[in-house]
Symmetry: D2
Subunit: 407 residues, 4 copies
């Protein structure tokens, strides 16, 4: 690959909130020779990854694997349970919630988009700095006496902001309103990094993807189902074929797929599940919490606000850093990329140019994050942004205080 | 990958008609570290692969790359240009044509399925042993005075049978009928093995995938478009979001995608295009023709019929071998797999148990095919099937007669 | 690697008697990141490979691993136990025995080179078509009343001819002569393919390398020692430093080396040992015997002599094929290489141009050998060599008769 | 490789002074299939790497590549030009100079070991903190009126201390003394990181290895020759075979070797040379200087002495850090390894427990070194070592001041 071979020495630091850095073990696994997806060796792999994913989603019910990237799994969730013109209640936590809302519109559904109004003192939209307010959902559902709303759709970990939402609280809100709407959750960037309990939290469809906590390249995505979602899908009338759960779930019982699966990424998924389940989910979650704490310690030391304005819902996966008004956050990102070979996430949608995002997920560790924070601190200074103190020193203090949970 | 590590010494012989054997160069490319799909290095790769694909499709118009396997690209072709209840004319060349027809039904379209009636002396359906009969299409379109038929859908290289169809003749039939229907062609297993001229043959949408002639693992798929198809898509009313051409074509101009692309398979595609275009399409086509001739020489020497009953439309990609009635072709395949570590394609749908398929595509060469034919010949004998002569000797004669075109 | 990337599609067939085709598992293992050869992870690998090698050599005594190719291990064997001017008795079985003899001369030793005299009806040297004649050794040792001969050096599997030698018989000959000479055996191409019992056969130093039966790339080599060899080394006076056993054996106890080892090839060795010992040596030996039988069946069917003229000592690792006098075997090899992408071994030394060698070792299987035999058969015909019959058919008969031992 | 797969997430930081971190490009290259080392493709690789190495050694004369690790190349240098009992003048710059001296003794040479006497205020041996004092060499050679000294052997970059030596000054000293001794230089850890001019500096034999500046795994090593060295080798009488230059140089003309080369590491060498020569030696040297400056800035900020006590001869490759007397430097290293997954070099020989070494070579960059320095700083604090200030801050200042030379 000539294009990538001109890179100078040393590893690129990929600190975007996904695709996350992929462990060599997984990269090696996906480069194994493609095999016959109708043969016996394949079935063994197929069964293994489906069963492993059930552990990761914390569910006993079917998990559907699509040979497509995450946006496809959003569409799959909608087309399997919705009929033309159905109302869905969505919640504006950020850019990805907005894109899912837009998709619902393109699919001829009637989405309603709840949000907190206005901007705060930073000029940033309030709703993009806080998680889902479950009481707004409850209130809206109570008002829906005719039960026209067929589903509540929320984002578990907003990749555009670094804010998580309390999914159990949303479940309680729906129950309190005694409303039959399905609960559909996008945990594309939450799964395998933040705690996500599909069954216990009463989620009907959880949507996720490969390129975040599972540390795979993009290209496969997931729908975890509830019995109620499966039942609903039988009478749902949006046209569906590629995304249809029925045939996939049926054939998955034998470890196969109705059409050609993404064999090589399933090799990677098998390896990923060995890593994640081998460590145990509690260790995986604790690891991300530790990294998030260190990054926030650095941001606080710099004297910059985090995008997340609610202490209770900081994401363990990424941290949004708001730059002083008047600075172009994208120019800072570019400077850091060009000088220190470090990629950061851009401000998206309503946040464009106002913030950048530091990913702390995937194949990383304490010292890799120290490298990243060093690069950001040098870049902020080079960009002329006044800093209150050294974020690098603050993060070192945090990391030195306790060993990493996996050690 | 413990599951694959228990394999005995030596390479497995993957002689199914796709996924094809993937060259090491490509496996290595797809194991490069995933990069930021919003960064500058990515755009260079994105532009390169789109431009390279245009050469392979022999088109000057947009080629859309989906992060999904081939079945998704079938759906994409339909949902972009169709409106609910639209009539489409499809042609039964085999199992995959039947599946596409079934998909049209699931998407609430009104497909009409042309075919040659009856079975022949072998008991096999006539329509599954011959290519598209363009005159049947012309006749049907002439009868459609009100132009209710919106598209003609045919399969270029039927993977279930080893029969190709004359796409230029289908174009001529449409033109002769002065019918405005779009011409939509599935060349999933034809592209980059058999000649496919998107522009010259007046195709409106060509559907293809990665895991055949392009020698990639499955996971990305393609729609090549015509201006007429693009125009039609603007008013088509089937709901579409993930598959919608508009945003993808727009963002592709800069080398990017509206959602996360399948980055690592794009690395592989870049490498594949270097290989295919580096050799030149004429060499690639000649190579497959040579392999097909040798395999047919072997089948003839064994005294077994090929699934394709028309000399003019033998596939360069795979050969269907009909086993004597009374033998279970799947049992023969299993015996060959277990004894000689060789995977063959099964008879699908109406052909189940009556034939097997030998793939001759992907990362292969003369001696690899000699190995495969040796395995099949030994297996046929072990299965007690009487053979007229040695197919292996016949193939050696053919291969010895002239050097491979790339040498 | 631009040089290797211009290769046409399909795998090269590497049918030389070593370096043998390397399994992907091993290639992947050697591409793992190099680690600190003084750290704790390294020691675990070091101990594992030394212990595993003891199983392969069938010894309870130390096995020394050198970060050098096999020729180095020849030198190591000599310099550790010899003093300047020492007499050694060597036996001319072929080219590699001759090279070892030449090395002894360069090291200022006094080698004596036993052989069977003359040429036979084919014009080939008799001694290069038969294994070691143990009675000649016994006779010579009996005549050495003053015990000036310090070591008997023989080649277990002559890579230049495809003839093995009966090492147990050589041991008996030394014992029968009541001679104290050390028994030193080159089993570079025998180990892990042909039975080799270091302890049971009373070998004092067995020399071997990585790139044959162990299926690794070249670059590491071995000396298996006896207590007598170790004792002798303490007073031997040839200068030695890099090759000196003492420090290596001492540091190996902890899993380390006195100088930088070849870390990445040790990864490969670890994987190789998992494969070889996982299958079990009896299966490994039976596998090579089967392959050798099939190749000999083919050579006999062609009506060509094998280089080995003694039925009892055919090599399980390679087969020498004598071409009719008047033909240039190297031209045949070149034709086969250029037309069929198949590498064969050349005739070496006294056999140059008179024969070629087919390797049947490493990562191979029945069908791969069928491919190779097909290539050879086509090449022989294209070269105008008259063949008595089809070797390919003969080999198919043999392979079809019984399943491979590992299945 | 189960042993390495138990590693937690994130890359290990290999900050020892070699083996250096190997770029993925090189790891991938060495995992290409092993080919026939007598075939035409091999010759192309052979010629390319020899020619490329001449550029790296800055010589027009032969460079010999051994399939062995660096210690072998030391031995090769000595046995090719020395005769039993020859006198050689060596210079004690540290542990590796001492080991080379010890090797000369084992090979029955008469080495004389010059050094600066005594210890300094830190208790460390003076001679291990400074480079070669050329005037001592000149003085000794002047005294050698009978020219019994056949060679002067010095280490260019002492890997055990982080001190370089002025090789041009040694050449001048020999010339000033009008002495015919050969100049033999160990630049195992200097080549391709520090400037090394084989021809211009009048070196007769430069010894080097793969696992340092060339960023390869260990396993191949080099002798760069002068015409005078080649001439001398013709009459030198130490026994030699594996190491003998004559046959290697002869066969290298065609791109081949007299015995099996380390094929897969030569693939890596080919890739390494593309990287090093593609950037240009001046950029490579400047890159290492920058890294060394940043690391020294950190050590100074911590208030710890560097092992190198002479500002003029700081190594660009590694930095020795002296820990306060009373602390066990190895315990600090272990703590850092266990807590932060970072490997540092140990104090060797006379320095054991008194210092540690930070490597700054191989596949690294500014942020990777920031990670390493963060790990060291946290570790020093956790070990209770009082620090004068933040080395991390000092290094950030240096890195922010100017872009890396390759950007």
């Amino acid at each position: 690959m000539v294009i990538l071979d001109n890179h100078p020495t040393g590893r690129h630091f990929l600190q975007i909130p996904g695709p996350s850095p992929v462990p060599d073990r997984i990269l090696r696994a996906i480069s194994l020779p493609t095999i016959d997806h109708r043969g016996p060796e394949f079935a063994a792999i197929g069964k293994k990854v489906i069963s492993g994913l059930q552990h990761v989603f914390q569910t006993r019910h079917p998990v559907v694997i699509y040979p497509s990237s995450g946006t496809g799994a959003w569409e799959a969730a909608l087309v399997n349970v919705m009929s033309p013109g159905d109302h869905v209640l969505m919640y504006e936590t950020g850019h990805f919630a907005s894109l899912w809302n837009r998709m619902a519109l393109r699919l001829r559904l009637m989405p309603e988009f709840l949000s907190l109004p206005g901007t705060d003192e930073t000029g940033l939209p309030v709703s993009w700095r806080r998680g889902v307010q479950a009481e707004l959902i409850e209130e809206r559902l109570r008002a829906d006496r005719e039960h026209r709303i067929k589903a509540v759709c929320v984002v578990h970990n907003e990749t555009s902001t670094g804010v998580t939402s309390d999914i159990a609280a949303v479940r309680s809100a729906i129950d309190a309103a005694r409303h039959p709407a399905l609960l559909m959750v996008d945990s594309i960037s939450g799964l395998a990094s933040a705690d996500l309990r599909h069954d216990e939290w009463g989620i009907d469809v959880t949507v996720s993807g490969s390129q975040k906590g599972l540390m795979l390249p993009p290209g496969i995505s997931f729908n975890a189902l509830s019995p109620k979602a499966i039942e609903t899908s039988k009478s749902a009338r949006l046209p569906k074929a590629f995304w249809a759960w029925d045939e996939i779930v049926e054939m998955n019982r034998g470890g196969y797929w109705p059409y050609t699966p993404n064999t090589n990424l399933l090799y990677g998924l098998s390896e990923s599940l060995d890593m994640v389940l081998g460590q145990g989910l509690p260790v995986v979650f604790a690891r991300h919490q530790r990294w998030a704490q260190a990054v926030r310690a650095a941001v606080h030391a710099w004297g910059l606000p985090t995008q997340c304005a609610d202490e209770c819902v900081h994401s363990p996966v990424l941290t949004g850093v708001v730059t002083p008004s008047g600075t172009d956050a994208d120019a800072v990102r570019k400077l850091i990329h060009d000088r220190f070979d470090l990629s950061l996430g851009a401000g998206l949608g309503k946040l464009k140019g106002r913030m950048f995002r530091i990913g702390h997920l995937g194949d990383t560790n304490d010292l890799t994050l120290m490298a990243a924070l060093s690069g950001v601190e040098m870049g902020l200074k080079l960009a002329g942004i006044p800093l209150a103190g050294s974020g690098v020193s603050a993060a070192m203090e945090l990391f030195a205080a306790t060993p990493a949970p996996e050690l």
